[in-house]
């Protein structure tokens, strides 16, 4: 397969060109200082994950469950990194207990989750995912935003990351599918 981002200043990745939303999210992670990313693939974020994985300045690891990945990301913070965890919103449903723990002990992680309650959710089988992602963060009083405007994605991710490091609190960003993949 052809390298898709050669010459663009972005990491070289195999496969189709990264959609603009993925590029913006990736650049926001870079601007926010993220240097460790843990992820579990879903249907929305893989173009971002391919960029992150191809960036030698971001240590990128895959996990087997999202709650495990959040614990790994918290460990990476303890080990000196500035971590983000990328996942489908359903994974936050698994992660209530570990999120509560890392909030208490001030071991922060930037949370990037696909799916949300309101926007671009045509499939009934994402119903539980819709409810659990925002529900868990709301229940734990973890601040979050649903990013609705792709043109704002880069700055929102960067500024959310700065809040994570500065406040030593998790922050969640929910990314509707169209924000990454277009209309």
């Amino acid at each position: 397969m052809a390298a898709s981002t050669m010459g663009s200043g972005l990491p070289v990745v195999e496969g189709p060109p990264a959609p603009q939303g993925a590029v913006e999210l990736y650049l926001g992670l870079k601007a926010g200082g993220v240097d460790f990313a843990v992820y579990l693939p879903d249907g929305t974020l893989p173009p971002v994950e391919r960029l992150v994985r191809a960036d030698p300045e971001i240590q990128t690891v895959q996990c087997a469950r999202e709650d495990e990945g959040i614990a790994m990301a918290a460990g990476a913070y303890l080990g000196g990194k500035m971590p983000a965890a990328l996942m489908e919103g359903s994974g936050l449903g698994y992660a209530g207990l570990i999120l509560a723990r890392i909030q208490l002990q001030r071991t922060p992680v930037l949370l990037i989750a696909s799916r949300n309650r309101v926007l671009d959710e045509p499939f009934d089988y994402h119903g539980a995912t819709r409810k659990t992602g925002e529900g868990v963060l709301r229940g734990l009083d973890i601040p979050y935003l649903v990013v609705t405007d792709p043109s704002q994605l880069r700055v929102i991710v960067e500024k959310a990351a700065l809040t994570v490091w500065g406040q030593r609190s998790c922050v969640g960003l929910f990314i509707p599918n169209y924000v990454i993949h277009g209309q």
């Binding site: 790994m72 303890l78 971590p83």
Partner: protein
């Protein structure tokens, strides 16, 4: 073999390295045996090893220890697959396996609730099946074999999984077990500061 004996052997080889203990009796036992600042006690069920895996991957020059119970390791079983996948050479997981949920509220002398380890689940076999090299997975049930396994774990590349079979002599229930003298918030801050002192990352407050 008693939990205390395994913990005391761990203390001898630890050399101040970061460690996270799972929930229950191991936390208070380690606190009593030898508290070191790079310690998080009583991590939530199923997450001590995952958090140590994150430290190990982020700080490959630093050996990291997870002290799990069999119940907690079973709850976090997926992490063994991630260890098998990423294979950090600096990670040591010590599973204190007594086959019971030994320290839950409401349990007391003579009352035990068994884990799957008492019903055929062999954690050493699971670890190997998850891709962790078989030569790095050790099951021990005596002080001398535990001491030998720990020696290998601190002198040879990992990841290491040491399943230490212990008895239930300290399964006295939550009300009477020893507890750490630092809380979960303090201990996480202490571990972070220790890592910064060792050159891993910037202080949380510049």
């Amino acid at each position: 073999m008693e939990r205390r004996e395994v913990v005391e052997l761990f203390v001898k080889v630890r050399d101040g390295a970061p460690a996270i203990t799972g929930p229950g009796a191991t936390s208070g036992t380690l606190w009593s045996a030898d508290h070191q600042p790079a310690t998080i006690y009583n991590m939530e069920l199923g997450y001590a090893t995952a958090m140590c895996l994150g430290i190990a991957l982020a700080a490959p020059a630093q050996r990291v220890f997870a002290l799990e119970g069999d119940g907690s390791m079973i709850a976090g079983l997926s992490t063994l697959t991630s260890i098998g996948r990423h294979r950090p050479a600096n990670l040591v997981v010590i599973i204190l396996d007594n086959g019971v949920y030994a320290t839950g509220v409401g349990q007391g002398p003579g009352v035990t609730e068994t884990t799957a380890a008492s019903h055929g689940t062999r954690l050493a076999g699971v670890a190997v099946s998850c891709g962790i090299p078989a030569e790095n997975v050790v099951e021990v049930d005596t002080v001398s074999t535990t001491e030998a396994a720990l020696h290998r774990a601190v002198t040879e590349p990992g990841p290491w999984i040491i399943v230490a079979k212990i008895d239930i002599s300290d399964a006295t229930g939550s009300p009477t077990r020893r507890r750490p003298g630092v809380d979960i918030v303090e201990s996480a801050g202490d571990l972070k500061r220790e890592m910064v002192k060792r050159g891993f990352g910037a202080p949380p407050i510049p």
